[in-house]
């Protein structure tokens, strides 16, 4: 009892991926949430409805995802840390707002707990919104930072990090999870809760012009040349982010002849396959991109220059979306194979093992 504080600090709490994201947001100083219910991310909106008012923030169940993302736009323009969450069809509706947020250089955090598509699809896990998240799903030349957690702890940690980086770069950040991550429960150490975030005051926010010149939050550049200048400024920012924010995890890649490339929950299954294959003497490894934009291209290039005979096997819950970024990076220098299922199907450990064996000959 005497030493209770450190115990509290190390204490783990059992949370679902969805709850961990919502808690991570509040712990990171998020004080505005607007959202519209959609499966499989409803635990986020329910958590926010209960805990956001307790944290002194604003919770609104909006009339649509369009309204949700635009409420977040307003909250960000006010200078607050703000978030919305949805799942694939709802994120499609938010693309207009995300484009405007990117253009107004507002620091949004957007959670997509992906379900299977296209269309209404179904509520099973999928990774088929990769293109939409990573290649900028809305109109115009812009990017969002995109992170893909592979555990509930990482979902919490990356949410906290997302708020920091959103503010740092004034850019929308997307957490790309899937229904499996959202629903499963794991123990979490909520470190950010112990050191509450105090976001810096945003001098550009629309807060009333007392004692200063008026601020305008906007994305319209009508005069000839103005928009091109602005877009070049955005591109410089994106280049900076490409250099600084590539994140990944490698597992048994040093001597690997075949390296699996998988992200999010798919990487958990791929890791199991690597472990089983290693036990049987196969030189197999795993590269798990954590940041999907910027894509961790540097480590791929490094691996190729170190091991010119390496082969990659990209495994996805889609029919080959991240695959294109691997191919682009590899640029024909080594062989790239693909294993993917989509529509609710998940490549199993056994399917991965069989494919690796076939490639290994």
């Amino acid at each position: 009892m005497r030493n209770q504080k450190p115990e509290t600090r190390n204490q783990k709490i059992l949370l679902s991926g969805n709850e961990a994201i919502a808690k991570g947001a509040i712990d990171a100083g998020c004080r505005f949430y607007a959202g519209y219910p959609i499966t499989p991310q409803n635990e986020i909106i329910a958590y926010m409805a209960q805990h956001m008012p307790e944290a002194g923030g604003v919770f609104i169940q909006s009339e649509s995802e369009l309204a949700a993302i635009n409420m977040v736009f307003g909250a960000l323009a006010s200078g607050a840390r703000a978030m919305t969450s949805s799942s694939s069809p709802g994120i499609s509706l938010m693309q207009e707002g995300i484009s405007y947020i990117a253009a107004a250089e507002l620091p949004a955090v957007i959670i997509n707990i992906m379900r299977a598509g296209p269309g209404l699809g179904n509520i099973w896990p999928a990774q088929s919104d990769y293109f939409q998240a990573v290649k900028s799903g809305g109109h115009g030349d812009y990017h969002c930072l995109v992170f893909a957690p592979a555990s509930v702890q990482e979902a919490y940690d990356l949410t906290v990090l997302s708020f920091e980086l959103a503010d740092k770069y004034r850019i929308p950040v997307i957490i790309l999870g899937d229904g499996m991550l959202g629903q499963m429960m794991e123990p979490v150490t909520a470190e950010a809760a112990e050191k509450p975030q105090r976001p810096q005051k945003k001098i550009w926010a629309a807060t009333g012009c007392k004692g200063r010149k008026p601020n305008v939050v906007k994305s319209f550049y009508l005069n000839m040349g103005e928009l091109e200048q602005f877009n070049l400024k955005l591109q410089e920012k994106y280049q900076d982010i490409r250099h600084r924010e590539q994140r990944y995890e490698t597992f048994n890649t040093d001597d690997a002849e075949i390296i699996l490339v998988a992200y999010g929950m798919m990487a958990r299954l791929a890791k199991k396959a690597v472990e089983s294959l290693r036990e049987k003497g196969h030189k197999v490894g795993l590269l798990r991109p954590i940041s999907l934009w910027p894509y961790p291209a540097d480590i791929l290039k490094e691996i190729i220059s170190r091991q010119p005979s390496v082969r990659f096997l990209v495994v996805e819950m889609s029919y080959g979306q991240m695959l294109e970024d691997v191919q682009l990076t590899v640029n024909g220098r080594v062989k790239v194979d693909f294993l993917g299922r989509s529509g609710g199907g998940v490549p199993s450990e056994e399917e991965i093992i069989n494919r690796v064996r076939r490639i290994a000959g």
Binding site: N70, F73, A77, A82, C209, N215, F220
Partner: protein, 242 residues
């Protein structure tokens, strides 16, 4: 000597981009004067729409946020909830408020958000080149109703103010006009009162302003005034709706 008139502080020195006879410049000024007279310039945050008035912030001397088309009231909702002590208003055209943004408008009103809405109804889409608006009159010719608006194909002019008046969350709705000095004076009073309502936490207040778009009505500025007085206000009667 007593000073009886001075520059409106809430307006910037800027050349107008509006066409001659357009109602926007006039209403911008009325909004600015109301804000000055209430002493709230430094506390005000305006939300500008997509449409001809998108760059209203080039004329206004207070904080502004430019909204995607139709989403002004979603944005305003968040700003007011986070900064309840500030004065938040939206400035929206008929397409913005009553077509693409209908859902955002209805739900902000239904939630009873403590906001002020300046709604410019000029019965036509100006910025895109004179297409049919939700408020275009039956028989009115536009780029997308070349034979005149036809109820069977296009529906009837949407009376969104009357619709909104039926919602319990709405505190005040008034329809005014800009067709004469007398009506312009009334418009200013209505705008001022809609801001006062917010200052007194009374809730959602909307002022619908019948305004001229001579360019796309195909009329001179003076004829446009006559058209508002004699034709448009028959379909959209002036006065306090709620």
């Amino acid at each position: 000597m007593k000073k009886i008139f001075s520059r409106t502080e809430s307006l910037c020195e800027a050349d107008t981009h509006y066409c001659s006879g357009c109602g926007h410049g006039l209403v911008h000024r009325l909004v600015a004067e109301a804000i000055d007279e209430l002493g709230i310039r430094e506390a005000t945050i305006g939300i500008t729409p997509v449409g001809c008035a998108v760059v209203a912030y080039n004329y206004w001397n207070f904080d502004c946020v430019e909204s995607p088309h139709g989403r002004c009231l979603a944005i305003a909702t968040a700003i007011k909830r986070l900064q309840p002590q500030q004065i938040v208003f939206t400035y929206q055209g008929d397409g913005d408020l009553a077509a693409i943004g209908t859902a955002e408008t209805v739900h902000a009103a239904n939630r009873g958000e403590n906001l002020t809405v300046i709604f410019i109804n000029n019965a036509v889409y100006g910025m895109t080149g004179g297409q049919m608006a939700p408020t275009t009159l039956i028989g009115q010719k536009t780029a997308t109703s070349p034979e005149g608006r036809n109820a069977k194909n296009d529906g009837l002019p949407l009376k969104i103010s009357e619709m909104l008046a039926g919602l319990a969350g709405v505190y005040s709705i008034e329809r005014v006009s800009t067709d004469s000095p007398k009506e312009i004076f009334k418009t200013k009073q209505a705008i001022k009162s809609a801001f006062k309502n917010q200052m007194e936490n009374k809730g959602f207040s909307l002022v619908e302003i019948l305004s001229a778009c001579p360019t796309y009505l195909g009329l001179s500025p003076l004829e446009s005034m006559d058209w508002i007085r004699n034709t448009m206000s028959k379909e959209f009667p002036l006065g306090k709706i709620k």
